[in-house]
């Protein structure tokens, strides 16, 4: 009973707090007579980080293009398409992966813009799918005994027709830098749903998913992109308070 009291107090204060702020918003909207114009359209873009990595990083090449379509005030249907090739070198194994991927899902804009601004803090969900091939370039037998040091075995084997599925949560920021041109950055947390594993080997890298972990189904990623909004129509947002 002693513990319930502060919890209740906390709940009440939160409720009262939000209620107060809602009331404040209503008041502001009621006095605001300029209608908000919201742009709807298709936004197309490309990742800047992957071409840059292609130039400066050995053993990597890739690109990603993306598009989104504003469905409602807050929701955007989104799709990403990409291709990656990556050499993965571990002390005991080295491999090369290349393939294509697609991600489809939606973004939710959690940011309330000021009048005339088109920025966004987005929360997104995606379903990701990749088809790729992986080549085992060389490997060593693990040994911690100095009696017979392991030799590197160069016996390249190619595993093609591999695929992987994952779910992805995206947290991102979009800023309109000039009219209809956006700069975005996002971080991605992915969870593998399924994958086809090569015989007597594993997928060290999955295009679109990035590196895998032996003891976890999770992966991470990021995108730094520039995109352009092709406006299709504009919607005037009429405050409900005014009609009352």
């Amino acid at each position: 009973m002693m513990k319930i009291a502060p919890i209740l107090l906390c709940c009440i204060s939160i409720f009262c707090g939000t209620h107060a702020s809602v009331a404040q918003n209503n008041k502001e909207n009621a006095t605001d007579t300029v209608p908000k114009i919201e742009k709807y359209g298709i936004r197309v873009g490309a990742d800047l980080a992957k071409p840059l990595r292609t130039l400066i990083e050995d053993g990597y090449s890739g690109f990603e293009v993306m598009g989104d379509f504003r469905v409602t005030k807050k929701f955007y249907a989104a799709v990403e398409l990409g291709n990656e090739s990556k050499d993965w070198v571990e002390p005991y194994v080295s491999s090369k992966t290349n393939g294509s991927y697609a991600k489809i899902g939606f973004d939710y804009n959690a940011y309330e813009n000021w009048l005339g601004m088109e920025n966004a803090i987005t929360l997104g969900l995606r379903y990701g799918f990749s088809t790729f091939k992986q080549e085992l370039l060389s490997y060593r037998i693990y040994t911690d005994n100095p009696a017979f040091p392991a030799e590197t075995i160069n016996d390249p084997q190619e595993f093609s027709g591999l695929n992987a599925h994952w779910a992805e949560f995206i947290l991102g920021i979009k800023t309109e830098i000039v009219n209809n041109l956006y700069l975005s950055i996002n971080v991605q947390l992915k969870r593998k749903i399924s994958e086809t594993e090569p015989d007597n080997f594993a997928n060290l890298y999955i295009p679109g998913f990035n590196r895998t972990y032996d003891y976890s189904e999770f992966g991470v990623g990021y995108v730094y992109s520039v995109s352009y909004l092709i406006p299709i129509f504009k919607k005037k947002e009429v405050s409900q308070e005014k009609s009352e």
Binding site: E90, I141, Y142, D144, N145, A147, V187, D214, V220
Partner: protein
């Protein structure tokens, strides 16, 4: 809001750092060793310690894998780069200021199979169709007999070989 987002980004990248995937954990089942136990020739049911046992790889750059141990059970590696492993089993009996050394040559022949373990550990070898051979020296041998218990070496749960002496 912005602060929260940066905090989340930091958390994600902090956990991205050091994981079990970066080093091969010592408890991982990698290439198994050959387990040998030593028993009494007069009563093969009884374990008998070798006083003192050394096991040395019988090749150019020889390595001592067991050093002057008073033991009845050893775990020794098999060569992962070849289908044969040659060892010298040395018994050193210390009497007073003298040490009487006796070398017996043992050869293990097998086939290998390489299996993927994890990204940090790479591959391991398993051995099958294991066979053993003791070079006969008549009365000079301190090893009387080698008995093969299991011809597949894919774990270290029990002995693969029994040596009677």
């Amino acid at each position: 809001m912005i602060k929260k987002i940066f905090a989340s980004i930091l958390i994600i990248f902090a956990f991205k750092g050091c994981t079990k995937d970066d080093i091969c954990p010592p408890d991982t089942a990698t290439t198994p060793n050959l387990i040998i136990n030593f028993k009494d020739i007069t009563n093969p049911a009884n374990a008998k310690k070798v006083n003192l046992l050394s096991v040395i790889t019988n090749n150019i750059d020889s390595v001592e894998v067991v050093k002057l141990a008073n033991t009845d059970s050893i775990a020794i590696p098999l060569n992962t780069n070849s289908d044969t492993t040659n060892y010298l089993f040395k018994r050193s009996i210390v009497s007073g200021s003298d040490t009487i050394k006796n070398f017996d040559k043992v050869r293990f022949v097998y086939q290998r199979r390489n299996l993927y373990v994890t990204r940090a550990c790479g591959y391991k070898s398993e051995y099958f169709n294991l066979d053993k051979n003791l070079e006969e020296e008549g009365a000079e041998n301190w090893i009387q007999e080698i008995i093969l218990l299991r011809d597949t070496v894919n774990d270290e749960n029990s002995a693969h070989i029994t040596v009677l002496h």
